[in-house]
């Protein structure tokens, strides 16, 4: 396998990397940090906890500088104990805190699943509304570093299956801050899933509060022939594919869900009715992915049922191999191919 530059890493950072220009612009990471900073300045109840978030500044540098500004009582470096990190956040939230915990990789959320599923999600309803858990757990997902099966997954679908949890999947540097702030202020446990390839994504630095309510999607590109419903790192991929499809005379509407619990069904349905064709693209593996939920919902609620299709990573154990992973995860070319199938029947 040859590459044009000889640098496998650079070439293979393809799919999303190609569409993300590294600039000294305002980035997704900057927006996250500013969101945390603003909430921490405004509300003394907001504290951060997680592994390597303080002195190290975070494995993906999101929390850099926050320990220096807020001190070790508000930016807490913890031992390596994922279940306890989430449990501590829950305990703090239950008695008046507003914790934002960081789990370094979504793949490690598995170690804390009882705390998410049986504890945080249940606390409010099970205990007759007496307690609530206003907590955020941030993690990052996805491929792009050849990091392998235990460091590259997208597990958002799991959390959507648990009533009581909120699931946010930001894709844009412009609105990730508003989503994070809204998540921190939400009285429910919020799973905030970033993506390792999006941290450098440039965007518009907004002014003021700019909260984005959870459960509102965004049309990233309006179109009339086909709706692509997607989220997270697949949004730039879908937009790139839309340019190619436009050259073929196929006008694509790209809907960035931003939130998988709750889902902005109004917008999804409206777009599906308008175009009559829906392609769901997600990086998470196909079976049991949230795409199935979207298509089932549309099949139940729309008459006539739109033409529908899903594109996802196949049901594989992702190899720790930069070359192989980009051959498995949806890229713009595969999105174009799927879209053509859908349009041409």
């Amino acid at each position: 396998m040859t590459t044009t530059t000889g640098n496998v890493g650079e070439e293979a950072r393809g799919n999303v990397g190609r569409t993300v220009r590294r600039q000294r612009a305002w980035t997704f990471r900057d927006a996250l940090r500013e969101g945390l900073q603003e909430e921490m300045r405004a509300d003394p109840r907001v504290v951060l906890l997680g592994e390597d978030i303080g002195r190290y500044g975070g494995a993906y540098a999101v929390t850099r500088g926050l320990l220096e500004e807020f001190g070790p009582e508000r930016v807490i470096d913890t031992p390596m104990s994922e279940a306890m990190i989430v449990g501590a956040a829950l305990g703090m939230a239950a008695v008046g805190g507003r914790p934002v915990a960081e789990i370094m990789y979504v793949d490690f959320m598995t170690l804390a699943m009882d705390m998410f599923v049986n504890q945080a999600a249940k606390l409010h309803c099970m205990f007759g509304d007496q307690l609530s858990a206003p907590m955020v757990v941030r993690a990052q997902q996805g491929f792009g570093r050849g990091a392998g099966a235990q460091h590259s997954q997208c597990l958002e679908a799991w959390f959507t299956h648990v009533p009581g949890l909120r699931v946010v999947v930001p894709a844009s540097a412009t609105d990730v801050k508003g989503l994070l702030k809204a998540s921190i202020r939400d009285p429910n446990p919020v799973i905030f899933l970033e993506h390792k390839q999006l941290y450098g994504l440039p965007g518009e630095r907004g002014a003021g509060e700019d909260l984005i309510p959870l459960g509102s999607a965004a049309v990233r590109r309006p179109g009339s022939d086909l709706t692509i419903v997607t989220w997270s790192a697949m949004v730039p991929v879908a937009l790139e594919a839309s340019e190619t499809l436009a050259a073929d005379g196929i006008d694509t509407e790209v809907v960035d869900l931003r939130c998988l619990s709750p889902v902005d069904w109004d917008m999804v349905e409206r777009s599906a009715r308008q175009t009559g064709r829906v392609l769901v693209v997600h990086e998470a593996v196909l079976t049991g992915g949230f795409g199935g939920e979207i298509l089932a919902h549309l099949a139940e609620h729309l008459s006539p049922v739109p033409a529908m299709r899903r594109l996802a990573t196949p049901d594989v154990v992702l190899p720790a191999n930069l070359v192989l992973e980009r051959q498995l995860v949806p890229d713009a070319a595969r999105v174009v191919e799927s879209a053509r199938h859908l349009v041409e029947g």
Partner: protein, 333 residues
């Protein structure tokens, strides 16, 4: 007689602890009656008969703002902490006035007003929550102490290890109270762990640990008070291993065939209520007439709680559908 002489606190404390244990015992017996009569809206009900002294002794060592969290076998903790009998009975009967509006059943009790952060049906699941509450107390400086009650089964769950280490590292105001009733369902303690000693086990985390006779509420109280004071004065967590016994099986369905009948007999002779009653009489702290008064008062309290619980409407389905997510409140921004 106490050679050192009884302090003023001594007799009063003993009376209080005895009354709490009677309240727990009679409530549990009434709950068992309801269960036998098929009146509970849950089939999972675990009574703490035989273990009353631990709940009574520990809870008596707390201040009003302190937190407790508890287990599936948590009626005793709830009552000892001052939970409402009306809310407890209503909960088991599936009524709206129940502690959890009829949604929690026996295993999920709560009372935020008395610092009860919830009883949990995942063994050990509440221990990190109690520890997190203690962390908030440390960070906010509110001076509260958090108690986690759990059984011998919990310490073999990984989450206990994470919580104990975390509490010690951050020097949190939490007291870990193991109610060791010798069995995790059918698994004997003697087969589940190698290290029995609380002090040794706790030392591995860097915190003090102490074993105590869980059938003696005064001994439990003394140990708990020391642990609570340590926590409140920024001395960090303590692990208490209280040895006790379940007089019934794990649950109603369990006739405990895995227990040696001789062992059961020996432990039943150490009924914490009987032991305390004899002590109160022998030391002249209470007469038999006074003891009967306690029973009568509890009986009346319980009757009234049952009467009022029975008047509460059934749990609301609409509310269950509505309350999956919390709504924003005034304290939110």
């Amino acid at each position: 007689m106490n050679k050192k002489g009884s302090t003023i606190e001594g007799p009063a404390l003993a009376r209080e602890l005895f009354t709490t244990m009677v309240r727990i015992r009679r409530t549990e017996e009434r709950i068992l009656e309801f269960q036998l009569a098929g009146r509970l809206t849950t089939t999972m009900c675990h009574v703490s008969i035989g273990q009353e002294a631990v709940a009574a002794g520990v809870c008596r060592a707390l201040e009003p703002g302190d937190y407790i969290s508890s287990t599936h076998r948590g009626h005793g903790h709830y009552v000892a902490r001052g939970g409402s009998l009306h809310a407890l009975v209503a909960e088991l009967l599936g009524r709206q006035d129940g502690a959890c509006m009829g949604r929690g059943g026996s295993m999920h009790l709560v009372d935020a007003r008395i610092g009860h952060l919830g009883s949990n049906a995942i063994v050990g699941g509440h221990v990190p929550i109690a520890t997190g509450a203690a962390m908030w107390s440390r960070l906010s400086g509110d001076g509260k102490v958090s108690v986690a009650f759990f059984g011998d089964g919990a310490i073999t769950e990984g989450i206990f290890h994470e919580a104990a280490n975390f509490a010690a590292v951050f020097r949190l105001p939490v007291v870990f109270v193991m109610e060791n009733n010798q069995y995790a369902m059918s698994m004997p303690w003697s087969r589940a762990v190698i290290e029995y000693g609380a002090a040794t086990r706790a030392a591995s985390y860097g915190m003090p640990g102490v074993d105590v006779d869980g059938q003696d509420p005064l001994a439990v109280h003394a140990v708990a008070r020391e642990a609570v004071e340590r926590a409140r004065s920024a001395g960090g967590p303590t692990f208490i291993g209280a040895q006790t016994y379940r007089f019934y099986g794990h649950s109603r369905a369990d006739a405990s065939p895995y227990r040696d009948p001789e062992e059961e007999t020996i432990w039943r002779e150490r009924d914490p209520l009987s032991l305390m009653q004899h002590r109160l009489e022998d030391e002249g702290i209470m007469t038999s007439a006074q003891l009967e008064e306690v029973e009568a008062a509890v009986h009346q309290e319980l009757d009234e709680a049952v009467r009022s619980a029975e008047q509460s409407p059934p749990a609301s389905l609409e509310a269950v559908l509505r309350d999956v997510y919390a709504a924003a409140k005034g304290s939110d921004r």
